[in-house]
Amino acid sequence: MAGELSAPRARDLASRLIGLGGVFGKSLRDLRVAALAIGLVAGLLMAVGGVLVAAQFPDAPSRIQLTLLSVSLPPVMAGLLGDPSHVDRLGGFLSWRIGATIPVLFSIWSIIALSGTLAGEASRGTLEVVLAAPISRRGLAFRKAAAFVVALALAMGIAATLTWWTGVAFAKLPGDEISPSQAFGQFALYGVLIGVAGAVAFALGAFVGRATAAGIAGTVLFAGYLVDGFSGVVPLFERLKPLSWFSLTKLHRPLADSWDWPPVLILGARALALLAVGIVAFGLRDLASPVRLPIPGLPAVTLGTRRPFSRSFGDRLPHALAWGLGDALIGIVFTLASTSFMEAMRAIPALGSMLALLYPGVDYATPGGFLQIGVFSSGTVLFGLSAATAVSGWASDESAGRLDLVLAAPISRVRWMIGSGLGALATSLVVAGLMAAAVWVGSVQVGGDPWQPAIGTLALGLYMAALTGVGIAVAGLWRPGLAGPTVIILTIVFYLLEVFGAALDLPTWVLDLSLNHHMGQPMTGGYDAFGLAACVVLALGGLVLGTWGLRRRDLRG
């Protein structure tokens, strides 16, 4: 045979940078949508903050009042929002009010992406094929890590640009302007904070596998955030504070004209070092052979091999326990901190009026009011994300092809949907139950009524069930892959509408679209019967709709 080999087509620069021209380009291509979304969401959050300031604090007297109130916040609030600095300026307010949550929120993406890029792909077997190409393991790991760094820089660049534009568009008073160096300096900090969380997962991934690495990195992230936030009220946390990267970089707030680059650079160097550890370890260790950590497993009886209900519940249970324990930690910390909050409320009566602006409609005269902000309001986000986890796992039965085998057994689609759907819904009881138990214990410790806040916390379980029901409906009616993302989007939209909607003077009918708006104040004993009923209807109605949908459509293959 005298065949003529064609010369490989020269890979153009564009496809090597972002495309199928190489590992770096392919990795960046895979990350581009997420990076764009994160940049836009972070930037829009800042823009919403700009609108808020322009609407609520348009003149000098209101800014002075804002400053006075912000500096008089109790340690527990000051810790979570950060030290107020120049909050009378737009940049200072954004850094204080909005900026505190950005690194925590988007670190989750960083952890998921960097734990999955090598460890996750290795366990799926993708890398077996890629590494059969003439590329070294270290070279591959380096390119993937580099692509993530570029994607993160891109996201932060977009957000910084939008923040700079926010200063241009919504500046009301002298000093409100935000310079490009301030915007980019602030988002350089966020980039480093987000990157280091992912780098922890990346470094550990080669040793312990994706899930464990992500779990450890997530724990380090939230523990660091809580330790930093509550160091003022929990003496133990004060001692642990130097370990938190949030504490390390606390003085660098360019939007508030506070610059402290050295800790940021040191943290950045640590993140790069962690990435280097991951790259080297990936080169040295066997592919997809993680060290099994002695994590105690659940009893075999919890796996559920009897019926679709028990199987679905058993499969979701480890995630539900993880979310529940994390929520329980937050619940108990907030409950223990409620006493100091009440002391601050008594000492500074004006605090209530400021909080009414930030969290409208909450009665702050009781510890329940504080728990309504600290546990319930932020809890909706956590429980929404728990719902997304539950519904994504449930939907994977179909998207991963398990359903093809299950439904070849003599079990109807309706029976499977109802059984497995109820199993997924039941996980909300586990998550809410654990958090409620923690709130109960915390309330007993501080000498308050333990039952009211504990029962109020259970309302979050209904909220989670409602979102799970919506996810089930989406999966059943359309496709399983849409369920998780839909729940995440709803969670964020509901939260933003609830927190910023009133301040932005949005019409009532828009505010009413948020389920959060109908949840009442369960931590203070104020239940909204309509909202709770709506949760039940969404949970069970979603299951019915999803069942109807799956009954009439083809299974995804």
């Binding site: 075999a300 796996l303 091999t305 009897r306 019926r307 679709p308 199987r311 499969d315 480890p318 991963a400 092809g401 398990r402 093809d404 085998l405 299950v406 439904l407 070849a408 057994a409 003599p410 079990i411 109807s412 083809d554 299974l555 293959g557």
Partner: protein, 310 residues
């Protein structure tokens, strides 16, 4: 006797994408029916329609005389199914996985389940995610077989299995058929289809191109004939014979493709000084490959009482 599986003008399209078109099949009790076709030809689509995992765009399919879209549960009660590609629950061990699928059927004969585990040499104490591809396939096969179904629908059943386990699988399949059960299996491994199946269907681009007994398919196929003469022989003599095509001459050797009886070629060759005569009987694989370039559908009716003999 009604057919176990029957499809009439079965068509499934995915929007603008072709699935299967006008597929007509009849599979009788006790048959081992092979379903052959290149990747993407429509084998899995046909199987998923039979299970009611997807619904036909037009036409109909019945299994045990029950229309697939009307009462799939009644069908599933009597079948065992192995998908071509599948994944199961990572955290469950092999034993727990088998137990779950047994529970979904209201229980199975534990002794038979154990015998299958032993014959397939499966370590059921390991988690599903820890299994190799072959061991995962064993789990799938045991799930399909453990309740002694009347009809086995197996998509690429030997994929990933080592030759010894393949032998075990064929032995179990033979036993099932000897008990009067029916098997419908898709495969790329033509030699195993040739050894195992009573009848074979070949599907290409979503359409059945041939359905026949394995032997008939082989008989219908062309012969590749090579004639070596002592001197030059005019090719026109052979080209004129009906059924002869692709005549090629190289020195004193003639090569040709012969469809149908070979006697006229032998007679023509005898007029010259013939040194050697080679006629190769085609394998099913060659027949299968020949179908790629010949899409004319030829569907032979099933032989009454077919099957049971393999």
């Amino acid at each position: 006797m009604p057919a176990i599986i029957e499809t009439e003008r079965l068509t499934k399209s995915y929007g603008s994408h072709r699935g299967i078109v006008d597929v007509d099949l009849q599979i009788q009790q006790g048959e081992v029916f092979g379903f052959l076709g290149p990747n993407g030809a429509g084998k899995t689509t046909t199987i998923r329609v039979l299970l009611d995992h997807i619904r036909p765009s037009s036409g109909r399919a019945t299994v045990f005389g029950i229309e697939t879209t009307k009462d799939p549960v009644a069908i599933h009660r009597r079948i065992g199914y192995l998908p071509g590609e599948f994944t199961l629950y990572d955290r469950l061990t092999g034993r727990q996985t088998l137990e779950y699928f047994a529970n979904l059927r209201g229980g199975v004969d534990q002794a038979y389940q154990r015998s299958l585990v032993e014959r397939f040499d499966l370590d059921t104490s390991r988690r599903f995610k820890e299994y190799s591809k072959g061991n995962k396939q064993k789990v799938g096969l045991i799930i399909a077989l453990q309740h002694r179904p009347e009809l086995l629908i197996l998509d690429e059943p030997t994929s990933g299995l080592d030759p010894l386990v393949q032998q075990t699988f064929f032995a179990v399949l033979r036993e099932a058929v000897a008990e009067g059960r029916t098997a419908f299996l898709s495969s790329h491994v033509l030699s195993e289809v040739e050894k195992t199946c009573d009848r074979v269907a070949i599907i290409r681009d979503g359409r059945l191109t041939r359905v026949d007994r394995v032997e008939a398919l082989r008989d219908l196929a062309h012969h590749q004939v090579e004639l070596r003469f002592s001197g030059v022989v005019p090719t026109a003599v052979f080209e004129a014979i009906a059924g002869v095509s692709d005549v090629a001459s190289e020195d004193h050797v003639l090569r040709m493709r012969v469809s149908g009886p070979i006697t006229p070629v032998v007679r023509a060759a005898a007029q010259y000084e013939l040194l050697d005569f080679v006629s190769r009987e085609p394998s099913l694989e060659e027949t299968f490959l020949a179908e790629y370039s010949d899409a004319t559908a030829t569907v032979a009716a099933p032989t009454p009482g077919a099957g049971g003999g393999r």
